[in-house]
């Protein structure tokens, strides 16, 4: 019996080694750095080190049924720090979740609903694909919808689910459209044909759903003639950069911060309005820790006159997760129910401690997460949450007066 178990564990690890998602976890020395690093480790029944140990020993039964299996929010902190270079975030966690679902173990309900939404509607919010262009209604610049007017463009902008549908994020989408136009970029979008890039599904072991999305998107992208993909959503960036190529789907992709940072010299003279505020920037986990890109967002903020940039105690590699990654957006209730804290609350407190009055973000999820957190922690009046795009647009006098 125990040898059979051991074998199951060994097989699992070996399989992971071949999966192409990071280094195989065979070299773990059980130092526990990952577990003590994990922002939710203390609340987990099986924090990363123990997760790996139990899996390697083939003790899967308890592991797969534990609520802690659904608590990792893919912040990548454990992977970044692991002294043996093991990337649990993208390998063992999804693999175990996949194994759990194959046994018929259900993920938390809210998360399941999200997967259903993606499957049925192609977006995480469960909205109609036909409504994907609603955000452009009040827009005062021309939007090139490639699905209606196929034409070569330099930039194919994947607007993303939240910026397309969610009112708070639609403001950001419109501001970005204006900035692109002001910069004279030849850009287009996929209109109602756009679909989620997929990332949370992959992190949550929904490998099958993810593969479908990769296939659908590949077919879609290949129809158009574009220079590169630009995304607002860091998670989409992580997927395009790190997961898509595994399926032979390689597209040059940029997160908007890196993209705009290439236009530094063109942007500089366009900064016509000072924005008097003390800003601290929250490094999101995907563009930051996962992809190692820290300077472009700060350089962009540095362009705006009146902005004073301060750092939070945890920044760059050491940034604290907002808790929304890899499906975490739909796990707050599950995490809190099992003794975890809402990570966004902690982060907003840190932002306030830094002396900033604006918390700048570059991720669609973070806007609402941090705004909620500011309310919950009573910091609403003290810390205003804004996307870098909004700050740039304001400085360029392209802001949306009705919403501001």
């Amino acid at each position: 019996m125990s040898t059979a178990r051991k074998q199951a564990g060994a097989e699992l690890l070996e399989q992971l080694g071949k999966s192409g998602y990071g280094k195989p976890p065979l070299g773990c020395m059980q130092c526990g750095l990952c577990a003590a690093t994990c922002p939710l480790g203390s609340a987990m029944e099986f924090p990363p080190r123990n997760l790996l140990l139990q899996a390697a020993s083939g003790n899967l039964d308890k592991l797969l049924e534990s609520p802690s299996l659904w608590m990792c929010v893919a912040c990548y902190a454990c992977s970044k720090r692991c002294p043996r270079g093991i990337e649990l975030t993208e390998s063992l966690w999804p693999a175990l979740r996949d194994a759990a679902m194959q046994r018929g173990i259900q993920p938390p309900a809210e998360l399941q609903e999200t997967f259903q939404n993606v499957l049925k509607y192609g977006n995480v919010l469960g909205k109609s694909p036909r409504a994907r262009l609603d955000w452009t209604k009040s827009l005062d610049v021309r939007v090139l919808d490639l699905s209606r007017e196929p034409r070569p463009v330099d930039v194919l902008w994947l607007v993303g689910c939240y910026p397309s549908y969610y009112p708070r994020n639609q403001v950001v989408a419109r501001a970005f459209a204006r900035i692109l136009t002001q910069l004279g970029v030849a850009w287009g979008i996929l209109g109602t044909k756009e679909k989620a890039v997929g990332e949370c599904d992959r992190m949550f072991g929904e490998e099958g759903l993810f593969e479908t999305l990769v296939e659908d998107n590949r077919k879609l992208f290949d129809k158009y003639d574009f220079g590169k993909l630009v995304v607002l959503d860091p998670h989409a960036y992580r997927a395009l950069q790190n997961f898509y190529p595994r399926f032979g789907a390689w597209y040059p992709a940029q997160h908007y911060t890196t993209f705009l940072a290439e236009y530094m010299e063109q942007l500089r003279p366009l900064m016509v309005k000072p924005v008097e505020t003390v800003v601290t920037y929250h490094d999101n986990c995907c563009v930051g820790r996962r992809c190692g890109c820290y300077d472009p967002p700060r350089e962009l903020l540095g362009l705006i006159s009146g902005v004073k940039l301060v750092e939070m105690a945890h920044n760059r590699d050491d940034s604290l997760c907002c808790g929304g990654g890899g499906g975490g957006m739909w796990l707050d209730a599950h995490i809190v129910a099992h003794g975890g804290q809402r990570l966004s609350d902690q982060r907003v407190r840190e932002a306030a401690d830094s002396g900033a009055d604006t918390l700048a973000v570059s991720c669609p999820y973070e806007l609402s997460r941090f705004e909620d957190a500011a309310k919950v922690t009573g910091l609403e009046g003290r810390v205003k949450v804004r996307d870098i795009i909004e700050l740039l647009a304001e400085a360029m006098d392209l802001g949306e007066r009705s919403v501001a």
């Binding site: 020395m29 059980q30 130092c31 526990g32 750095l33 990952c34 577990a35 003590a36 690093t37 480790g41 203390s42 924090p47 080190r49 123990n50 720090r81 692991c82 002294p83 043996r84 270079g85 105690a313 945890h314 760059r316 590699d317 050491d318 401690d353």
Partner: protein, 665 residues
């Protein structure tokens, strides 16, 4: 000896090297192939050519069959070329009429397909046979060795090596960059595992260095350049000005009291910046030589050209101050060099999660060594930044070691010094001590016993790598006291928060920041992690790829004092062996000038990187000094008249070798 009209009779020997070669190449087929090559009188294969019977075979055949050229198809010439050259010489053949075909490293070990391997081996063999046919007998040449050694770095490694050589009656030049010798060991209070007082065992050696008539000690000095080669190095040493004449200073230190700065206000690097010093200063009380230095960056006389010069007044009639001292370059000739430049401690401020440099009561181990040292900034009192005594101390193991993000290697001594610090902290403060470790590495003599002793003294051990050091909640980010270490107690299976008021980071030992420049200066290489590379990890641990340059101590790899001292003595023995040989054989592949062809254009003279060529103005030709020529071939390629030629690399020899190779590829 053979004359040019004598018939060529080449003997070919194919070695099996056990199964190393025979397992990959059909040695019988190769031998048959050799037999039909031009001038080959006989070809044999044998199990181990390098063994005595193999060598005997060659000797006997030379005599019996009148062989006058030998080709051995075996391992790299690096290994056994000297062996077969000697065998040939023993049988009366000039030793340079032997050629090696390397069919092990270049064929057997790197070629999977047997047929391919055979064909490749044939090409190598044919090349060797055609080449050796062109060889001519050469004379062996010897040069005198300078019977003096240089030791670079005056830590415990350099001190030990210098004393051993000096006690053996050899002259030693000891070069140390800092104002005093002693290195890291001089910073410690006690040493593991015996807890000897570091100063008590080190200072007698330091004084011995100073007093030894065979040692010339150059402190505050660095090596500027190294020329020449084994047996005859010419080393330029840059000597920084102390602004005090070492011969006149008596070491009274009254100038320090006399300095117009009544209070010390500049960080003392030896105290890791925890202590302060004046513009005229000495790193620690027992410094050797006991001569202060004046810091030109802050001394008023030097920076502003104006000062009351309290120091000079205090010095009085000893009159040792020399504000006009300039940097000097001195040149030394030595036969061997021991590099003993040591290590540096890892700077943990690059790891954000330990808060070093951010939270005042997070210290490095080296800082704590200074705090514990009676001669240190607090007179040996272990205190927090606010002067209070710590009550709970956390020690974090493996900081910068065993970590793919920093150094993958284990630093070998930090577990042991962390145990030592735990013991000393408890002894001096009675504080609770928590050592957080991944594995305790205590494999030396008396080490496990020491570990056990420290356990029994009540130090707490938590198995887990600390993930975060943060201030206690509510105290802001720069709080004076109150730190929390977050660690996964992997034995308990529980993530714990340990409250402490001092954190000590057991930092890695890493290569010095300037290791790459130093490496280049001495013509040696570094291994992947940046420590200097020994010639062979097991069999030549103190030699380097550059003959005559030896290694000792922590510059070669992280190691403790016992290992350092043992290695220093080994390096000294190797140096002694070398310089005591009196003379050294030169490589035969030197260049020479065919007088009849030389036009005296002097093109080659400027090009030679070793300044080995001079012009004979009378005869209007260039002359190459055989002792200085390194056989690089630059002049041979450059000579417009084709007059510069090279032994063992004559055009005909190289061409034939290439022809041999090309015919079979």
């Amino acid at each position: 000896m053979i004359t040019s009209d004598e018939e060529l009779r080449i003997g070919v020997y194919v070695c099996h090297c056990g199964s190393n070669i025979a397992g990959a190449i059909d040695v019988e087929a190769l031998t048959k192939f050799a037999e039909q090559l031009p001038h080959v009188a006989l070809a044999r294969h044998y199990k181990y050519m390098c063994a005595d019977p193999g060598q005997e075979l060659v000797k006997r055949d030379i005599v019996e069959f009148g062989l006058n050229r030998i080709v051995v198809a075996a391992c790299s010439p690096n290994l056994h070329e000297p062996t077969f050259r000697r065998a040939a010489e023993d049988a009366g053949l000039n030793r340079f009429l032997v050629q090696i075909a390397n069919i092990r490293e270049q064929v057997a070990w790197v070629t999977e397909d047997k047929q391919e391997a055979l064909e490749k081996a044939e090409a190598h063999l044919a090349a060797a046979v055609r080449r050796v046919a062109q060889h001519e007998p050469l004379q062996r040449q010897f040069v005198r060795i300078v019977p003096r050694a240089m030791v670079v770095g005056g830590g415990i490694a350099g001190i030990q090596a210098a004393l051993t050589l000096a006690d053996a009656g050899r002259e030693v030049i000891l070069v140390e960059r800092e104002p005093s010798i002693g290195g890291h060991m001089a910073m410690f209070d006690k040493t593991f595992p015996t807890l000897d007082c570091a100063a008590c065992i080190l200072t007698p050696k330091m004084t011995a260095v100073k007093l030894h008539s065979n040692i010339k000690m150059l402190t505050y000095s660095t090596v500027e350049s190294v020329e020449g080669s084994v047996g005859n190095f010419r080393v330029k040493v840059r000597r920084k000005p102390r602004y005090i004449d070492e011969n006149l200073c008596v070491g009274c230190m009254q100038c320090i009291d006399g300095c117009v700065f009544t209070k010390a206000k500049f960080p003392n690097a030896f105290d890791q910046g925890l202590g302060l010093r004046k513009p005229v200063w000495i790193p620690f009380p027992q410094a050797v030589p006991p001569v202060p230095v004046v810091d030109p960056e802050v001394c008023l006389q030097i920076t502003r050209g104006k000062c009351k010069q309290g120091c000079v007044e205090a010095c009085g009639e000893r009159n040792a101050f020399r504000f006009d001292q300039q940097e000097k370059i001195e040149e030394y000739e030595v036969g061997a060099i021991i590099v003993a430049t040591g290590f540096q401690a890892f700077d943990p401020s690059v790891i954000p999660y330990y808060g070093y440099g951010k939270y005042p009561n997070v210290y490095t181990s080296l800082e704590v060594e200074r705090l514990l040292n009676a001669g240190g900034p607090t007179g040996g009192k272990l205190v927090l930044r606010d002067g209070s005594t710590p009550k709970r101390v956390g020690i974090v193991h493996c900081v910068g070691s065993r970590d793919a993000n920093y150094h993958v290697y284990c630093s070998r001594v930090c577990c042991m010094y962390a145990l030592k610090l735990a013991h000393l902290v408890r002894e001096k403060t009675d504080a609770e001590v928590y050592n957080c470790y991944i594995d305790i590495r205590a494999p030396g003599k008396g080490f496990e016993e020491f570990y056990n002793r420290v356990q029994n003294e009540g130090v707490r051990f938590i198995r887990g790598k600390v993930a975060d050091v943060t201030p206690v909640a509510g105290q802001g980010t720069t709080a004076e006291g109150g730190l929390v270490m977050q660690v996964d107690d992997t034995l308990l299976g529980k993530i714990r928060q340990i409250n402490v008021d001092m954190v000590i980071l057991a930092v890695a030992l890493e290569p010095r920041a300037d290791a790459n420049e130093v490496r280049r200066e001495f013509g040696i290489s570094c291994s992947a992690e940046g420590f200097f590379l020994e010639k062979h990890p097991k069999l030549a641990p103190v030699n380097t790829a550059n003959d005559g340059v030896l290694l000792a101590g922590a510059c070669q790899a992280a190691k403790d004092i016992p290992d350092t001292v043992a290695q220093a003595d080994a390096a000294a023995a190797k140096a002694l062996m070398l310089i005591d040989a009196g003379q050294i054989e030169l490589e035969p592949n030197t260049a020479w000038v065919d007088e009849k062809m030389c036009s005296g254009c002097k093109t080659c003279i400027a090009l030679c990187p070793y300044q080995a060529i001079r012009a004979d103005e009378e005869r209007k030709i260039a002359v190459i000094d055989q002792a200085l020529c390194k056989g690089c071939g630059t002049c041979v390629a450059a000579c417009p008249s084709g007059a510069a030629k090279q032994h063992l690399f004559a055009d005909q020899q190289v061409n034939e070798e290439l022809e041999g190779l090309m015919n079979y590829v």
